[in-house]
């Protein structure tokens, strides 16, 4: 497991997460941009934060691919479900 990978700087990631959260708050309530842009940017930031947690805190970055696949398999399924459910209202 520990093929002598360098341990990430956890405090730095904590700072990242805190700053991104603050950015989200500012974006949601202060920034005068259109709703759709807000939506896209907020989702982008949320996924970024989630990825940071997954990659470093759950150390997926340092795992073998077959374990990563285990973590990733449900994501496309969830996406398919949500898109199909939403398509009800597009016609």
């Amino acid at each position: 497991m520990e093929t002598a990978h360098k341990r990430p700087n956890y405090i730095l990631i904590w700072v990242y997460l805190a700053v991104l959260t603050a950015a989200e708050l500012g974006l949601a309530f202060e920034l005068p941009i259109s709703r759709n842009w807000k939506l896209i940017l907020l989702m982008f930031l949320a996924v970024w934060k989630a990825a940071l947690v997954g990659m470093f805190f759950m150390h997926l970055k340092f795992e073998r691919w077959n374990l990563r696949i285990m973590a990733l398999i449900p994501l496309p399924l969830a996406l398919i479900f949500i898109l199909a459910g939403m398509s009800e209202h597009i016609w």
Binding site: M1, Y10, W14, E24, F29, L45, G54, L77, A78, M86
Partner: protein
């Protein structure tokens, strides 16, 4: 890790076995469990997205019903507890059980405070008239609905989805706090974790970070959008 060979006995699958994923059972089991948790939250979050997308009217604007400030603090708290969890993991990897116990205790406290604040938030919301069934008649929020600040048509769905999603997240946090407290008392205090075997810490950590990760998504889509 420098003493890789010494960790083998505890951290690897039992010796005469076909090669699996090269991780011990509990860790693999936790990842498998988390995959199913993803699907559980996908059902809840998916429901929210589909209902909100298909709703026949405007959704309430963020920040009117929910208290963003206190939740932002709570979010920060959960992120901190995730960091303290990973610090505990790093400490025991380095063979420092004392530091590990400190950070684990911090994590437990952070998680417990999060749940406490959430309970407080719920009580506050219900008091102001926001319930899983929608806005309570005659309440403070009902006034906002009446004067058009809040859309009447979607408040029922808002209440249903909000309490279900955050409620189940809170339930997961509670479970995490209980299991960490259990491990703290039965394993960490008696000194059962060592540089050679810290499976419990790593496994419960994975669960804890997952709960944090879900909250990151929930906070954005429920409170900010």
């Amino acid at each position: 890790m420098t003493h890789a060979a010494a960790t083998v006995d505890q951290m690897r699958p039992p010796y005469p076995a076909e090669r699996g994923l090269d991780v011990y059972n509990t860790k693999l089991g936790m990842w498998v469990f988390l995959a199913s948790e993803v699907m559980f939250f996908a059902a809840l979050i998916g429901t929210y997205v589909i209902l909100r997308f298909g709703a026949t009217g405007e959704w309430a604007k963020p920040g009117i019903v929910l208290n963003i400030k206190i939740t932002a603090f709570n979010t920060f708290l959960l992120i901190c507890s995730s960091v303290s969890m990973v610090k505990a993991y790093a400490a025991i990897q380095d063979g420092d059980p004392k530091k590990m116990r400190f950070w684990l205790l911090m994590t437990i406290l952070g998680g417990a405070t999060f749940v406490g604040i959430q309970v407080f938030e719920y009580m506050h919301l219900v008091e102001h008239g926001f319930t899983p069934a929608g806005v309570r008649e005659g309440s403070e929020l009902a006034g906002l609905v009446a004067n058009g600040t809040l859309p009447a048509a979607t408040m029922g769905l808002y209440g249903s989805t909000f309490f279900t999603m955050t409620g189940f997240h809170g339930f997961h946090v509670t479970c995490g706090v209980i299991s960490m407290a259990y491990l703290y008392v039965t394993k960490a205090l008696p000194g059962k974790y060592s540089q050679q075997d810290y499976r419990g810490i790593e496994t419960v950590g994975l669960y804890w970070h997952f709960v944090d990760l879900v909250w990151i998504i929930l906070f954005t889509i429920v409170y900010l959008i």
